[in-house]
């Protein structure tokens, strides 16, 4: 709606941490008969988005609400995603959960949904400026966490490199910026390269090979997602530098965990897509039930390394995150 300021999910004041929702708004309310939820995400070709869908489904099953989960045919298919979202509105779903390809491509949905009196929850990644509800993590914080790891564990500083996602995509821009500005603050670290990896393993591999060749004294890579990070790991191994170069990814997909456990990938920033999905659907359904939630519900993330990988995987993750949240208060 027009009187809302354009959303910046990272800085919005009207926010609540996911761990606080139950405390503030009580147990999950009863929903009208026949409530059904529709969700549209970016693509299913990335595990992150499939896990998000699992979260939706898990919560839907728990509370007995059917959820339809659709995705565009490829990342970047902006109009295709809009078509899907329009279809969901036409079909009379009671609430929509959308993870837009870009900040703008699902904008028309906001108006159509409003007209149909259907709440829309923007879940993660790109941010629709007029979104009234957003569930997700602080993208910038991804990069910040990795930078902090370097500052703590490599006190002497050194050269680091960034492999970015698709040029111009919100998450990539924010994550990169968070990392870059945090790590350069103390003056000990130098970002010697920040190049596009286009979310693509092969491109990232080639970029990493070139960077390592030019800067054999590099101490670390930060990649905007895990697929790219796993490509970089191979390049580091091929150069025989696995003991000297730390590699971090983002997302926390299962392959990243496996690689971390195998001692190859140094770490990843897990944003817990399954949990995010559960929280998002819970938020959405609470809106359907008439509750007034803050504009942003922040979901957790954690820097995963070999030391803590077990704590954050499997069914124990939720508990661990609640503990973290409690400790953070």
């Amino acid at each position: 709606s027009t009187d809302l300021a354009p959303l910046n999910s990272d800085t919005e004041k009207d926010r609540i941490d996911w761990s606080q929702v139950e405390a503030k708004f009580g147990t999950f309310p009863k929903l009208p008969e026949g409530t059904k939820a529709g969700a549209v995400s970016k693509t299913l070709t990335n595990e992150y988005w499939r896990s998000l869908g699992e979260g939706y489904k898990a919560f839907g099953d728990k509370v007995g609400i059917p959820v339809v989960y659709q995705a565009a045919q490829s990342e970047g298919d902006q109009l295709g995603q809009l078509t899907i979202a329009e279809g969901l509105v036409t079909q009379g779903y009671n609430v929509l959960l959308v993870s837009p390809q870009t900040d703008a491509n699902l904008q028309p949905i906001m108006e159509q949904a409003k007209a149909a009196n259907v709440p829309v929850v923007n879940v993660n990644d790109a941010v629709i400026p007029q979104a009234e509800h957003y569930v997700g993590n602080v993208q910038r914080d991804n990069g910040v966490r990795v930078a902090k790891w370097f500052i703590k564990n490599r006190p002497n500083g050194g050269k680091v490199a960034i492999v970015e996602g698709q040029a111009g995509v919100y998450a990539a821009v924010q994550r990169t910026d968070g990392f870059k500005s945090t790590i350069t603050e103390g003056g000990k670290f130098e970002v010697v390269a920040s190049v596009p990896g286009n979310w693509d393993r092969q491109t990232s591999y080639d970029a990493a090979v070139n960077i390592l060749q030019q800067h054999p004294d590099l101490i670390g890579f930060y990649a905007n997602n895990d697929g790219m990070a796993l490509g970089i790991v191979e390049a580091v191994k091929a150069a025989g530098l696995q003991d000297k170069v730390a590699v971090f990814g983002t997302d926390g997909i299962s392959d990243a965990y496996a690689s971390i456990r195998a001692g190859e990938l140094t770490g990843t920033v897990d944003s817990f897509p399954v949990l995010t999905g559960e929280v998002a659907l819970e938020t959405a359904l609470r809106l359907v039930a008439g509750q007034k939630l803050p504009r942003v519900v922040a979901t957790p993330q954690a820097l995963i390394t070999k030391d803590n990988a077990d704590r954050y995987s499997g069914p124990g993750a939720r508990k661990a995150l609640l503990e973290d949240a409690a400790a953070g208060q």
């Binding site: 354009p6 693509t43 299913l44 339809v68 659709q70 995705a71 565009a72 045919q73 490829s74 970047g76 298919d77 902006q78 109009l79 295709g80 809009l82 078509t83 899907i84 329009e86 279809g87 969901l88 036409t90 079909q91 870009t102 900040d103 703008a104 491509n105 904008q107 028309p108 400026p129 698709q166 040029a167 111009g168 995509v169 821009v173």
Partner: protein, 322 residues
């Protein structure tokens, strides 16, 4: 083989171009019938309008693409052209320039992008595929650099109303594109330029000897394609209320698919406005239907591929050689 190559094309001509379009129409009818049978509410007026609206942007681009293809070329740069035009005119609007002026500027950008393509193809003599592959990256980069990668938000309501309104229950975007289609049809069928396009794509050397202005004709085709990309961009940003530098990703493939389903030959010299519009609607109806059936995205992708092939097959069977 022999009959295929040497005899059937003649058959096709005998029956005339409209037979070819009839083939495409049959393809559309089959697809509509299948979805109609499978999806309740597919034939609801509201959904049919949705299909038209969702097809309109692709149809707009595909019309320009058809003209370029007829001239023997191809334009891969339509998406980035649209993006560049969108971000520039949007930032003008946001900066307070009256929106008709900003729209005109957007159109000028589209024309300029087309002009560059056209000059490289017609005067420098480079291959259209490669020229527009190069400008595909170049224009996209310009749009990204211009905006720093950020979307341009806050388009004036007056502007958005122009492209979001309806007339006689039809979305204005659909009406605009229908109008463009009529103009394109007239241009192709009734003007010297249309004849020139067909001649240049059909036999460039003969056209040259007959005094056809080859370079001008080709350049004009690319400029029209650029202009229509800019129009598609305006329609889209009107709908979205924002202009993004990454808008128009992969538009070229849909536009080419629509033109080809509609009977354009990538060898040049052949193509139909009516066919292209039907082709765009086939693709739009398919997306719409698959979504309503809640088909999972991998299977949607599969269906997209198979339906493009099926449309070409149906079409092939109904009229002879592709």
């Amino acid at each position: 083989m022999s009959d295929t190559i040497l005899v059937q094309p003649r058959a096709e001509f005998m029956r005339g171009v409209s037979m070819r379009d009839a083939g495409t129409l049959i393809g559309l009818v089959v697809i509509l019938a299948v979805f109609g049978a499978l999806v309740p509410g597919f034939f609801a007026e509201r959904n049919l309008i949705n299909i038209l609206q969702q097809s309109s942007i692709n149809a707009c681009l595909a019309l320009g693409m058809t003209l370029v293809i007829i001239s023997g070329g191809i334009d891969l740069s339509v998406g980035p052209t649209a993006a560049l035009s969108a971000v520039i005119s949007a930032s003008m609007m946001v900066a307070g320039v009256p929106f008709p002026l900003a729209i005109a500027a957007g159109f000028a950008i589209g024309l300029a992008c087309g002009l560059v393509n056209g000059l490289l193809v017609a005067f420098v003599g480079l291959q259209p595929f490669i020229v527009t592959l190069g400008t595909l990256s170049t224009y996209r980069a310009l749009a990204l650099i211009y905006t720093g990668g950020n979307p341009v938000l806050g388009l004036p309501a007056g502007f958005r109303a122009v492209f979001n309104g309806s007339l006689f229950g039809l979305p204005l975007a659909v009406i605009i594109v229908a109008f463009v289609a009529v103009v394109a049809w007239v241009v192709l069928k009734k003007t010297p330029f249309g004849e020139y396009l067909l001649a240049v794509g059909g036999n460039e050397e003969a056209a040259y000897i007959a005094g056809v202005p080859i370079a001008r004709t080709k350049i004009a085709a690319y400029m029209i394609s650029g202009l229509l990309a800019a129009l598609a961009a305006q329609i889209l940003i009107g709908r979205l209320g924002a202009a993004e530098p990454i808008l128009g990703n992969l538009w070229e493939l849909d536009a080419i698919a629509a033109a080809a389903i509609g009977g354009a030959s990538l060898m040049g010299g052949k193509g139909s406005v009516v066919g292209t519009i039907l082709g765009a609607v086939i693709l739009g109806a398919m997306r719409n239907g698959l979504t309503l059936m809640n088909v999972q995205s991998f299977y949607q992708l599969l269906a997209t591929g198979l339906i493009i092939l099926a449309a070409m097959l149906i079409d092939r069977v109904t009229r002879g050689r592709g």
